[in-house]
Amino acid sequence: MSIVNEKIEFAGLNLKNPVFTASGTCGYIDELDDYLDVNQLGGWITKSITLKPRLGNPAPRVVETNGGMLNAIGLANIGLEEFIAEKLPIIRQKNTAVFVNLAGQKIDEYVEVASRLSGQDGISGFELNISCPNVKQGGISFGTDPAQIKKITSEVKPACGGKPLMVKLTPSVTDISKTAEAAVLGGADALSLVNTFTAMVIDVHTRTPVLANRTGGLSGPAIKPMAVYLVSRVYQDVAKDAGIPIMGLGGIRNGLDAAEFMIAGASTVCIGTATFARPDAAVKVSDGLRRFCESEGIKKISELTGSLN
């Protein structure tokens, strides 16, 4: 039995620990059942759910980079109805927090998806995806304009049925504090940052982009120092005073990475790309974070948040 108290209060939810799996990297969780006991995590976040099913972008959709990878999946998902009928019954059997990641082409679509899910059992909260770099409409087109962020957050929030709404921010902006502030003003209960960095890989032989979408989102350890900086920035500039918790993500692969994000200001952390290389990566991160606290004599894991000297 660990002497570390790992419990976290996050946006009104009581979580077992601060570690989540990130949207788009854990499917609808049943795909990971053979490899990971999701009940050991603080929670997990579904793939983006849109009103209608989406095929996503053409292949190739991923390419590895130095210490990272680019993806341009394009919000491929089974759509709201199949999600409710096929996946929610499985999700309800899990004993951990689940955020549904919301996506859409128009604000109305986000609102409709949220309102039809808010009354469903088994959903703990929502994550607003306004930062996907791989779709032309919706996604990042909302997430770079503070006025749009405030508007979409304030319109989706009432559709959440009192469940927490977390807004996922893109790093591909000049000043992330401004977009974070807009989300808070719009009524966000939490912020998650960062989504992937817009990037490109070129095949030098054919002189064409490798991804069919031409650009993709860069993730993995290559982005971690930038993501830590942005979490620290938003914590200091916006979240700390507003009392809004941050979920930190970007290249986390072990307990020390997670601790770094928490010290920068994150209350919870999310594991994304690492799951592709090791399906139980999130549990390993959780174990590592606990070991770090034990070795440092930290009795309550939440004490790490914002403890940067």
């Binding site: 499917g27 292949a59 190739p60 210490g67 592709f276």
Partner: protein, 305 residues
């Protein structure tokens, strides 16, 4: 394709041996014990595993021309179909052939006996066993040769009466991942002795006929006196080759299964990167996943008639 009900997981394997053929090809043999052995006992030809390459050192003698490509830090695993899987006492041996083309395969090629590697698998759906009495024609290109060879060999191990024919193609002799070819021996007397017929083709004519393996197969079939209804094709290789095989198979009326290769990150169906566009029976477009629904598909499903 085969119904998959085997457990897969992340297992540590020991390298039992490595064999290099020229600069481009190596054959790696891994030993799995305990739960890993139990899982891989249920693996079948055409399935695959994801090998962790992160953390492995680059070999000091990189193949020529690979230096610029090799010095990158990989984070994703690399998928390989099997050349063979067989028991070794309580343990299981898993063999793969590796075409050394980038930073991941270069790192794998540096493994030596006793090294440890993390393996995620077995994954995907492999080749379906033929209907009773059907003859199986394996047609494969380049690094697609090992899984087809594995399938044919396994069929003949399970059923000594099984009739198999094999066709292998590559750019040149140096690119052909068949141990006996690399050693200058006749594969018909070595790896493919279980087959009733073996033929090869290379682009430059350095081994077998000069030309495409599909052409070698077609001219053989025209004179073989076999009824298409009595045959099935199992194929793996570059997509244009598989498309050509599918078209020939559709024309002749032979059932064909093809093993596809797509860029994939996870191998278990969460990243959604390795899509295979197909049309449903109602004509609706949908995406299947190479890692979960494949990599082996019925040719009619993925290549239009």
């Amino acid at each position: 394709m085969t119904n998959k009900n085997n457990r897969s997981g992340v297992f540590e394997a020991s390298v039992a041996g490595s064999e290099h053929f020229g600069e481009k090809i190596c054959r790696l043999k891994f030993v799995l014990s305990g739960e890993g052995a139990d899982a891989f006992k249920l693996a079948s030809p055409g399935e695959f595993a994801q090998f962790q390459v992160e953390g492995l050192a680059l070999p000091s003698n990189l193949p020529e021309g690979l230096e610029d490509r090799a010095f990158r830090q990989p984070i994703l695993r690399r998928p390989f179909s099997f050349l063979d899987i067989y028991p070794y006492g309580e343990d299981m041996i898993v063999e793969i052939m590796c075409d050394i083309i980038g930073t991941g395969t270069a790192r794998l090629s540096g493994l030596r006996a006793g090294d440890k590697v993390s393996i995620l698998g077995p994954l995907g759906r492999g080749f379906a066993k033929p209907e009773k009495g059907k003859k199986v024609i394996g047609i494969a290109g380049g690094i697609g040769i090992p899984p087809v060879e594995h399938f044919l060999r396994q069929l003949c191990r399970d059923n000594p009466k099984q009739e198999c024919f094999a066709f292998a193609g590559a750019r040149s002799r140096a690119d052909m991942p068949i141990a006996s070819v690399q050693q200058g021996k006749n594969p018909e007397n070595q790896e493919y002795s279980f087959c009733k017929h073996f033929a090869a083709a290379t682009d430059d004519g350095s081994f077998g006929d000069k030309g495409l393996v599909t052409e070698v197969f077609e001219s053989w079939f025209a004179g073989a006196g076999l009824s298409p209804a009595d045959c099935e094709i199992a194929a793996c290789g570059p997509e244009p080759m598989l498309r050509a095989i599918a078209q020939t198979a559709h024309k002749l009326g032979i059932r064909a299964q093809v093993s596809l290769e797509k860029m994939m990150a996870c191998g278990i169906g969460v990243c959604q990167s390795c899509i295979v566009p197909v049309k449903s029976q109602l004509g609706r477009e949908q995406n299947k996943l190479c890692c979960k629904d494949g990599p082996v598909f019925d040719s009619r499903e993925v290549f239009a008639e």
